[in-house]
């Protein structure tokens, strides 16, 4: 899965020119921007900005039931965006794509709608120590409601998913396995296909947090054979507030709604209602139509460049960063031991310097990184730290960006007098 394919190197000059924020002027007194926080939210290319702009200029209206031309155009664009996203993740049927605001909303939807119908007291939900809070807290909420219990798959010393521990936990016959495809602060890539295969042998469903993989790796939900998968559009060059929940059609069809309201019903009386078919059942209220259209433009943009090529580029950058960081004394890197299972994100700490101070000093060099627990408190506990500084790469980053990061880290060390 983390195998490096022979791909053509990215045309970085052309790609960077697509992103206005990277080519625009820096505020006075600031060096050119080095943006290393794409794991949090990526920058947007002109193609995505234009898709949203032209939707509002030319096609804006509410979708469905509008018996006029403009509404038909908007409905067509929205449903065609669903098709594009279905193709992007290799779904067999576009009804398996539900538009949501982000990964968090998608996982809350599954945990509550699927969980309320399928979990009971004593049932086991398997998570991992490396999950983002958005793949933990929704399960905490549903566990509280149903009396289900939660166990976590440990990490190996090499900071990877511990398969042996997983196998031993599967013996307890969990109902759900909730796991990240790519870890968001240390970048470990998990073997989802293998995890899903084993989960299915004990009848568990597999819920994949693909927030950090969909922007960076080719995904095919049929090949991975996962039951649910959640992604955030804004991390994959799409608009903020756009995301997708994928679910296998029979599972979605058997699920009760999550939110109630307009658009998700079949028949409503004052004291009861029946519900629409999938996917409308899970899209209550007016959806973010322009953002869905923008997300489809983002998926097209990434597909044209090629996810294999993007992954290869990021891997090259992160390996270069690993080599450069290895030369800096007093700096510790948190990343999987096996470089082939790494993606373009890693954490680090400078001896005795708080991550917020590191990030603030890097910002003085206009190198944008994130500091904190990255919504990974259990992982931070496992690593024995309160917080880390995190750098993440995307298709528009360069080796020059890595050099600027390294220079800024060396300067931060010297400001704090770290040997």
């Amino acid at each position: 899965m983390a195998m490096q394919l022979a791909t053509t190197p990215l045309d970085l000059d052309r790609i960077r020119a697509d992103f206005p924020i990277l080519t625009g002027p820096s505020p006075e007194g600031r060096k050119p921007l080095v943006f290393l926080d794409s794991a949090s939210s990526s920058q947007k290319p002109q193609a995505v900005i234009d898709a949203i702009d032209s939707f509002y200029r030319e096609s804006n209206s509410n979708i469905h039931r509008g018996v006029y031309h403009l509404s038909e155009v908007a409905t067509g664009l929205y449903e065609s965006a669903r098709e594009t996203l279905a193709n992007f993740i290799g779904a067999a049927d576009s009804r398996e794509v539900i538009f949501v605001r982000n990964t968090t909303e998608a996982i809350n939807l599954i945990a509550h709608a699927w969980g309320r119908a399928n979990l009971k007291k004593g049932d086991l939900i398997l998570v991992t120590e490396m999950e983002h809070h958005s793949n933990l807290v929704p399960w905490h909420l549903i566990a509280e409601l149903t009396g289900a219990r939660i166990e976590a798959v440990r990490l190996t010393d090499g900071l990877e998913f511990d398969m042996q521990h997983y196998y031993s936990l599967l013996a307890q016959q969990p109902k759900v396995v909730a796991v990240a495809h790519v870890q968001n602060s240390i970048g470990t890539i998990n073997d989802i296909k293998k995890i899903a295969e084993h989960a299915h042998t004990v009848g568990a469903i597999v819920v994949v947090d693909a927030a950090q993989s969909a922007p960076h790796l080719p995904i095919n939900v049929q090949d991975l054979d996962v039951d649910f998968l959640a992604l955030s559009g804004h991390k994959m060059v799409g608009p903020l507030g756009s995301g997708v929940l994928y679910g296998k059609l029979p599972l979605l069809q058997a699920m009760p709604p999550y939110m109630g309201g307009g658009g998700m019903i079949r028949k409503v009386k004052v004291d009861q209602s029946t519900y629409a078919d999938v996917p409308a059942r899970f899209e209550a209220g007016t959806p973010a139509v322009a953002d869905a259209v923008g997300l489809a433009a983002a998926a097209q943009y990434l597909s044209e460049i090629g996810l294999d090529a993007i992954h290869a580029h990021e891997l090259e950058l992160v390996h270069y960063a690993m080599d450069r960081f290895a030369e800096i004394k007093g700096v510790k890197v948190f990343a999987p031991a096996n470089r082939e299972n790494q993606s373009g994100v890693f954490s680090f700490e400078i001896d005795g310097v708080h991550p917020h101070d590191v990030a603030a000093l890097l910002d003085e060099e206009n190198v944008a990184v994130r500091a904190g627990h990255h919504c990974n408190q259990p992982l931070m506990d496992r690593l024995g730290v309160v917080a880390t500084t995190r750098a993440s790469f995307y298709l528009y980053n360069t080796r020059d960006d890595v050099d600027r990061l390294v220079d800024a880290v060396i300067r931060a060390k010297s400001v704090f007098g770290v040997e």
Binding site: G29, V353, P355, D357, E364, A371, G372, H373
Partner: protein, 133 residues
């Protein structure tokens, strides 16, 4: 651009003033900044309504530690009313560095903890003397 990391911040971070705990203390509180996990505890000794001794301990970024350190110097000899009246801007002026909006919470963590200690103690006292509502 103006750096937050001037000599004075780095000095207070390296060797914070009044670092430790007071036992016994008249006022004690501890709190965490949930955004970054920074943790600070402040102890006060008060006689005749005047702060006679103060100490703090904890872990955090240079901005929160240096700011708490300067705050402890500032409040010694103040009345409790004067301590309560210290505003965010008073403190930032005392620190004298350009604190970015993202770091205001770090800079004010010590002050908030100190005020929490005073408020907790007073709420508790009121409860017991029956003057609370």
């Amino acid at each position: 651009m103006d750096s937050m990391y001037r000599e004075i911040i780095l000095e207070h971070h390296k060797s914070p003033h009044n670092f430790g705990t007071l036992d016994p203390a008249d006022y004690t509180a501890e709190d965490t900044n949930p955004l970054c996990g920074d943790q600070i505890r402040v102890d006060l000794r008060v006689e005749n309504n005047i702060v006679t001794d103060v100490a703090f301990t904890g872990r955090g970024c240079a901005v929160s530690i240096a700011s708490a350190s300067m705050l402890t110097d500032m409040v010694k000899g103040m009345t409790l009313d004067e301590v309560r009246a210290i505003t965010k801007d008073d403190l930032l002026e005392e620190i004298g560095i350009p604190v970015s909006p993202a770091r205001i919470k770090c800079a004010t963590l010590g002050l908030n903890v100190m005020n929490l200690g005073i408020a907790l103690k007073e709420a508790h006292t009121h409860e017991h003397d029956g003057s609370g509502s």
